[in-house]
Symmetry: C2
Subunit: 335 residues, 2 copies
């Protein structure tokens, strides 16, 4: 396949995140403010006396995490460069900002750099007298190996975790409860992703990888990491079945279970494609006797303009569904 | 530039809209229902005794219009095939469904097929005893010519029109007021779009057009229509200035004016790009002494996966801003 030249609407590849966060905060002043020194997006309507929630990581996954800052979800998002962890100093500033007297929970996607920098920041914040806990999100089934490596990557389940834990914190639950419930939600969540094309970094003329026309990258990561292998291109219903079957097996879904299902576009998939994929997720789970209690279909955890999609399933109780339904006021989700 | 093969996550190019609408309604049951016979998306929480609002047109522009159905915005969206007007029969069914006793306003983007089919449907509905008015949206400055052609195309201003008029109808304003205010909002709105690549139809291996690496299509339409010409690729701040200047001139913006600004992705632009463009829109208008009273940056009126963006400016009064701020409960916008 010939290689196409990618172009982007940017000014300078070195300033994209600063400029994007400025634009984002100008567009969403009712929800968020921007700390330009540390590239923190924090909620406009500051909380008091609740557990603070801070998340973050490399940029390039928008609307994650800045789009999830607001009442009922995150207090602070710490924004690194594209696909690069924020520094420990940035995370320390974000953790401090998230505190309103009841301690802070860091929601961290499982990548080596993020884990390290959030841990250093937690130590620094604890030295300052803050109470800090963490929820490590590691939902990506494609990276579920038996070796001693870093373990499963954190991907789109972070959306579900941030929504449910955000509601719990907003209710006034204490630090240990927020942490415990968050970790349980992670344990109940798995994701898998496929792609037809990788994304291209701002300023890069080429995508991270290219595929032949008969190939689909299976188990692809959100930083352009190659997947566990290539499968044959097929109708989306067949591709989605190849995702949902291992997810259901891994979660040991049985008749009568309820899930929150997230059909997530990786950036380059258009809404028609995501809606068709969502239809098949509903059909496959319905055929298994599994209730889709709540679902979303949209581009929430992206990989620049990667033409791909992921499915995340979280096994939920009635209490989780109540948390899902609680009000949220962020640039991305409001209900 | 070599031509890249496009692929999509679909099952069959003939069934994409039926399948997408099924998936969309399964994903958003709290907001909408689906009439599969006429491919209508209608609000779950049916109104009574208010002016009904129906819009629609060809598909491929998602989330437009189905994503804007719900309390405070549209009552019914009529969904045609990709880039093809719905039939007069579909629009008639949608217009009938939108009526709850106070008449119906059709919000129609200015394309020959849409205008014709909505007019036929209005006549049929009037024969049934309904009162029907229309708001013709024609904001695209690129198609503003002096000839006797069809006039300016309708593009992303339809979002602003549907939000403001939706709030007015929800308040209980009568048919003539809703119509009059809607037409005024159209008069106060202009848009311009640029693209780096065209979109590809579901099932098509190629985009509608391709550009050389130094070119940008200026004044492009939302159906892959070529623009008014090609301009040189440049930093996005320069490109946005080339859009905002003619918009401001056409609207005769002066110091002290207030606008609602919509920075709209055409499908393939990622959020970082749109936020950077939004930053420049705010800066340019600020430099002119024009207040950006409210703004959005996101992909709302798309052209499949076209890598492009548009800017829409609407000159607003305090009353328009109040209408903007009124509650809305749809799959896309909720506040």
């Amino acid at each position: 396949m010939p290689s196409i030249i990618r172009r982007q609407f940017i000014n300078d590849s070195h300033s994209v995140i600063d400029e994007a966060l400025e634009g984002f905060s100008l567009t969403n002043p009712q929800y968020v403010s921007w700390d330009s020194e540390n590239n923190l997006i924090f909620r406009q309507n500051r909380a008091s006396g609740k557990v603070g929630l801070v998340s973050g990581g490399g940029s390039g996954h928008e609307p994650l995490h800045a789009g999830f800052v607001g009442t009922g979800m995150l207090d602070v998002a710490v924004c690194g460069a594209v696909f690069a962890s924020p520094t420990a100093g940035q995370v320390h500033a974000g953790t401090t900002l998230a505190d309103s007297g009841a301690g802070v929970v860091q929601i961290v996607k499982n990548y080596t750099g993020d884990v390290l920098n959030f841990q250093i920041a937690a130590s620094l914040a604890e030295d300052d007298g803050l109470k800090v806990e963490d929820i490590l999100v590691n939902d990506d089934l494609a990276s579920d190996t038996d070796d001693d490596g870093p373990g499963r990557r954190g991907t789109a389940a972070v959306v579900t975790v941030e929504k449910l834990v955000g509601a719990l914190a907003e209710r006034g639950a204490p630090l240990n409860v927020v942490t415990k419930v968050g970790r349980e939600i992670v344990d109940r969540s798995r994701s898998l992703a496929i792609a037809l094309d990788a994304g291209a970094h701002p300023g890069d003329a080429h995508a991270a990888f290219e595929l032949e026309g008969h190939e689909v990258e299976f188990g692809v990561g959100i930083h352009g990491e190659r997947g566990t292998g290539r499968i044959e291109f097929a109708k989306v219903d067949e591709l989605v079945e190849q995702i949902v079957t291992p997810l259901a097996n891994s979660l040991e879904l049985v008749r009568g279970d309820a899930v929150i299902a997230l059909v997530n576009g990786l950036g380059g998939a258009y809404p028609i494609e995501l809606s068709i994929a969502a239809r098949q997720v509903h059909r496959l789970l319905g055929a298994r006797g599994v209730t889709v209690a709540r679902s979303l279909a949209g581009s929430y955890v992206t990989s620049l303009d990667m033409h791909g999609l992921s499915v995340t399933l979280t096994v939920v109780s009635d209490e989780h569904i109540e948390l899902w339904d609680e009000p949220v006021l962020t640039p991305t989700f409001t209900w």
